[in-house]
Structures are given as structure tokens and as C-alpha cells.
Amino acid sequence: MMMRRLVARAMLSAILLSGTALSVQAAGTLKVSVDSNLNTLDPAKMKGGQEYVAAYLIFNGLTVISHDMTVKPDLAERWERSDDLKTWTFHLRKGVKFHNGRELEAEDVVATIARIQDKATGSTARVNFEIVESMKALDPLTVQFQLKAPYAGFAELFGERQARIVPRDAVDTLASKPVGTGPFEFVSFAPGDRIVLKRNPNYFEPGLPKLDEVIVRILPESSAQVAALTTGELDLVWNLPLEAIDNVKADPKLKIDSVPTSTWDGVIMNNTVKPFDDPRVRKAVAMALDKQAITQIALFGNGTPTHSPIPPSHPYYNKDLKIAKGDPAGAKKLLAEAGYPNGFEVTLHTPAGRATRERLGLAVRELLKPAGITVNVQRVPFDVFLKDIEGKAGFYIDGFFSRPTIDTSVYPWYHSRGSWNTALWSYSNPKMDTLLDGARQAKSEDEAKALYTQVQALAVEDSPGVIPYVINHINGMSAKVHGFHSHPMMFLDLRDVSID
């Protein structure tokens, strides 16, 4: 009987859906697509690029990572740090209102960070704030943090994706009814279909946003995205699938905007698992992989070969190092030295549904063949990948989004106590640790640059894994869309955007 009632209700809702009608879209409506469903609209719990799209539209941080990758004021209009870099005081902008009409207070900041620190929340940003010893609201517009250790990059942490400031009295319903301070207010979320947002009339930046409404449609099929863009059903495709770029370029009614990022994919070799515990084996793998070819195969050329997560577009990039050209003969020789004259056979795990990483995996398989390494590619569902492969398997493909600073881009992976290192490839070299620790305390840009130059050389020499490229972030849009600039952090910044 129960089932019948449910079915009846579903029928009814289908009928009702077809009955209600008549709302006409506002003139300034931007229809944008993302390529996968969102798990949550609660920023603390977000993990995927599609979710960050929503986070950026609905919420603000204390600070923001701007288009030039520098940190700028956002909800905090200014901040001070003590000389020992352990006490940080943030002054909030006055009169900022949450979408529910309540004014933003320092207590909201404290509650937001406390929530991220709570293990039960399960926020990936928790490790970032482990450095916080204590925090308190000095007055409604001032919040102060005491750190356990000096940290010059603390303000940048508030530009991170999960550290969006949320109202302390509405945290339980954020996943489905997010309330923020951002340029757009949440209207509705139909999982698998769309998110509807409307203009926040009280947004604190005067005159912004320009759009009345944003509809984020969830369209996983790349052919459907491009088709919808050409027919005008969509105005903007966020993170345009690489294989679709030529089609969009060929259409005079469409345009493309792209920006280099430091988002990377990597060939991960677990340094504690045979045969990758031998640096010569890892070096051999790195030698055999032609990075230019891989960039072509995996990204259709829409990226740049690199040595480490430091992108070639960055001033710290080590230009003297050569990009590996692919030397299977040399790799074979190294393998023989390491005791594998006939190569070996190994399973390479790739997370299913990540197109660039799947292509990277297949490219690795082909490029290692002439070096005598037989690679069996095993595609794994993403949840299994997180649980059983990442940090556990010997050989797999992984990838990471841009981080706000060079320190946060490199340290966690290469320092022997880095938060990602121990769970990824378990690489440890005291010399690398010294370099990275030194860079954190560098007094000048030149000093930092010199240290990071050495970091890259060492990363290539030791090859804990191979980072073949950094990816370009590309958006496709209708020529009617104005004022859009792709963000190197892959945020969807629509504040200045307007549409004809």
C-alpha cells in the first residue's frame, strides 16, 4: 500500500509540475552549466569544483584570492598581524548582511572556523586551521586568532574554498538551503538538474552583481553542454570539456576564455611500495614519460608541462630545468641497474569519470611500454579510489586543484610531514624539508625564489611521482556574455558579468 501511495504521490507531483507555469525569466538571467551533480551546498563540506562554483556565488570569505592570485580583502576590510606572526586580527566590513537579513558579526566567523575544526563536520579544510590555538570575537566587527606557530600565509587560508563565512544560526540547513553574504541568493536546488540563484540586492559591493538571476544547470554530457551552448539554451559552460574547444572556437556566436592554473594531475608512485621504493625505478618512470606528448594526449594541448605544482606562468618556476622528453632507452638502463633488466608489470589505478586523469593513465601505459614496464590500467569508482587506492596503492593517477599560494601548493606534498605527502607518496628527503621550511621564513622574494628553484630541481631529481602538466581552465560562452574572466582557481566569478 505504501508503495502505491508513493507512486501515486509521484504521479501527482508530475501532474502538478506540469500544471504550475507562467513565470517568465528575468532579462538579466545567465544560464551556466557544470558537469557533475553537487553533493552539498554547505561550503565546509565541499570537495568538488562544481560545488566551489556555488560557494563562490553564494558566500564570501574573510579574504579572497583575486584573479592575479594575490590575497585581497573580502568580508574583512583589513587585518593586522603581530610581529611574531602568531596573532592575527581581522576587521570586518560594516553593515554586511546575510541573505536572511541578519548582519554579519565576528561570532559568525568564530562559529564558521570552529565548525571546520570539528572532526564530525569532515571538512577537508580542517588541516588548514589546525594551526589555530584559539580565537575570539573582540567586538561584533573584530575577530582575533592566536596561532600555535608563526605563519605568514594565514590570511590566504581564508580565501580557501571551504572557509566561506556562514551564519551561525543556520548551519544545519546549509546543505540544502545555503545562506551567505555573496552576490547571489539561493532560490532552489533540484539535485541532478539545476540550482537557481537570484541577485542579492543588499550585496556589499555597490552596483554589483549586474545579473538578476543565475541558473546553474547540471549537464554531465559534454556533447549536450556544447549543443546547448550553440542553441542558446546555455550562456556559459564552466570548465569547458577540452575535447569541445574546437567546436566552440569554430562558432562565431561563441567565444572562449582561458587562464593557466596550477591545477595538476600526477602519476603517483608510493615511495614505500616495491618497486617504487627504489629511487632509480621512479627516475626511470619519469625519464620514460614524454611530458609534451602527455599534455597533448590528456589535455589536447590545453596545459603546460611542468616540474612540480609550481606552474611555468609563475615567477618562481625553474626555467633552467629541462622538461622530460621521453627516453625509454635511458629508462631501461636505469631499470636494469635497479635490478629489473626485463622491466616489470604493475597495476595503475585511475579514478573513473575524471577524463583528463583517465587519459593520463592510458598515456602512461603506452609510454612505459617501450621502457619494458607493462602497465595494467584499472579504473576505480571514485569512492573506492578515495578509500582504498589513494595513499595505499603503489601506482595511481591523482590530481589536485590550484592552491592559493606557492607554499600551500608545494609544502603539503613534498615536506616529509606535509599533510598530503604521508597519505600520497610518502616521500622524505631532509634536504627538501630544509628547503621548504626555509622558504616559509624567507625574508624576500628573491630568497624565496632561489629556494623554490632548488625545490623543483630536487623534485625532479628524486621524482617521488611525476607531475606532467598544469591544466588550463577554460570557459566557453556566448558572445552576448560580457565582463567574464576565467579565474586561475577555477572560481566562477559572475559579479561583473552582464548579458545582452
Binding site: E221, L362, Q378, V384
Partner: protein, 290 residues
Amino acid sequence: MTDATPARQAPSRGLLARLPALPVSLVIGVLLLAPLAVAAVAGSWLAPYPYDEMNIMSRLQPPGADFWFGTDEFGRDVFSRTLVGTGSSLVMGVAATALSLLAGVPLGLVAGYKGGRAGEAIMRAMDVLMSFPPILLGILVLAVTPPAQWKAIVAIGIVYVPQVVRLTRAITLELMQEEFITAARLRGESAAYILFHEILPNIWPPLAVEASLRVVFAILLGASLSFIGMGAQPPSSDWGLMISEARPFVEQAPWIALCPGFALATAVIGINLLGDGLRSLLDPRNTGAH
């Protein structure tokens, strides 16, 4: 490739005897399937290129002299991949069908011959299995473990067990009314003897027809599972997987999807015709729709 199933073996004596009167559909079916059988056995040997060889300079090439059916996004030869994929795609259906027969026939025999509680229990269990939509049952089975092709075969096998059990049971029940079974019982033959020597040989013809139809469904279901990522895994050139991977490129390079699609269509039409032919051969009265 149907050689692997009982579909061809059981009625072969009858086939020879009626050779002059072979149904047209059977002949066409065999003609369609013959090249596929060759491809399944010798595909990787006949293919002009290794199925997994990448040639990045010639990715997404349209069909031409070098690549008869073009290349995919890695510059792999679509024709070679389709050819090599024949084995994977057809074996999936055939092996799954064999599996469902292997599990279903004994269960059906027991349910039909012994009846009673055991029979009742078997049939009720089958009812539960049948109350899942087929693809959902496949997904449910496959979601339990990381995907692999052999697991998809097992899943499809399980999906079709109930149909085999039901059919076997029905035929067994019918046979039990026959005089020669009664005679065997009166002779005091053991249950095992009756099952294996009297009943089993007589249930093969209808089962063979059933199996030939089942193979089609199994191939299509296998392709569907590969398509949603739960069957064959890359870099395999299983047809369902090939079509799935071709989706993002469908506009620029439709040949990547079309070539395995046509191969799949040929296989399905061929087996359907073969099944129709078999049926009219084994049961000339029944030539209508199924």
C-alpha cells in the same frame, strides 16, 4: 561464437537431416555471424594495428586509406579496436547465458522434479530475483565490488537465472506426465538416472531456442553495463565501452561510435535470425512473434 553454447550442439543431428529445408533466417543469421565468429577468434591477429596502440599525431582522423574507420581520441585505429572487441562483447553475452543455464537448469530440474518445499523455495527465490528490473539487478550486483568484466558476466548470469529456472521447471513438469518417465519410475530407476538420462536430453531443444534469445539480451545488457562503466574496463575495446567513450566526440568524430554500433547491430540481428531459424526448425508450428 555460438559454438560455445549448447544452442548449436544439441540440435545438430536434426540440422543435418533437414539440411535442404533450412529456414532462410537461419542461413542469413549464420552468414551474418560467421565473420563475427572469425573476428572473435582471430581479431587481434587480423587487425591492421594493435587495438591499444596510440598514435597521437593522427588522433580523431576520419575514415581513410590508413585507418579504414578512422581513429579515436588517442589515435587508436577504430577498425582494429572494433575487430578485437568482438571477442569481449560476444563472450560477455555467451558466457553469461552459459552461466545462467549452468545455475538455472539444475535448479529448474529440482523444482520441477522434486517439487515440495525445495521446489517452492527455489521458485519463490526466483520471484524475488525477478522483481528487480534486469539492469537494476545487474547494477546492484556490480555495485558491491569494483567493476570488472567477469563480474559483469556473473551479474548478467544471475539476472537471467530465473527465466531459465522457470522454463526448465515448466518443461520438466510437462515431461513428468509423459509415459516414458512413468515407465522409468515404475522400473525403479533412481531420481538421478531419470533426471540425467530421461529428462535432460529432452529439455535441450526448447532450452537451446531460449538460450539463443537470451544471448541477445545478455549481449545488450552487457553492452549497457559496460556503457555505464560497470562492465569491461579501459583500455578494453568492448563495444559498449567504445560507444560510451565515444560520446564526448560524437560530433567531431561520429565514426568512433558508429563502427562498434554497427558491429553490435550485426551481431544482434544475426543471433535473432539464428534463433528464429532454430525455432522454426525445432518447432515448425511456432513461427509467429515472440
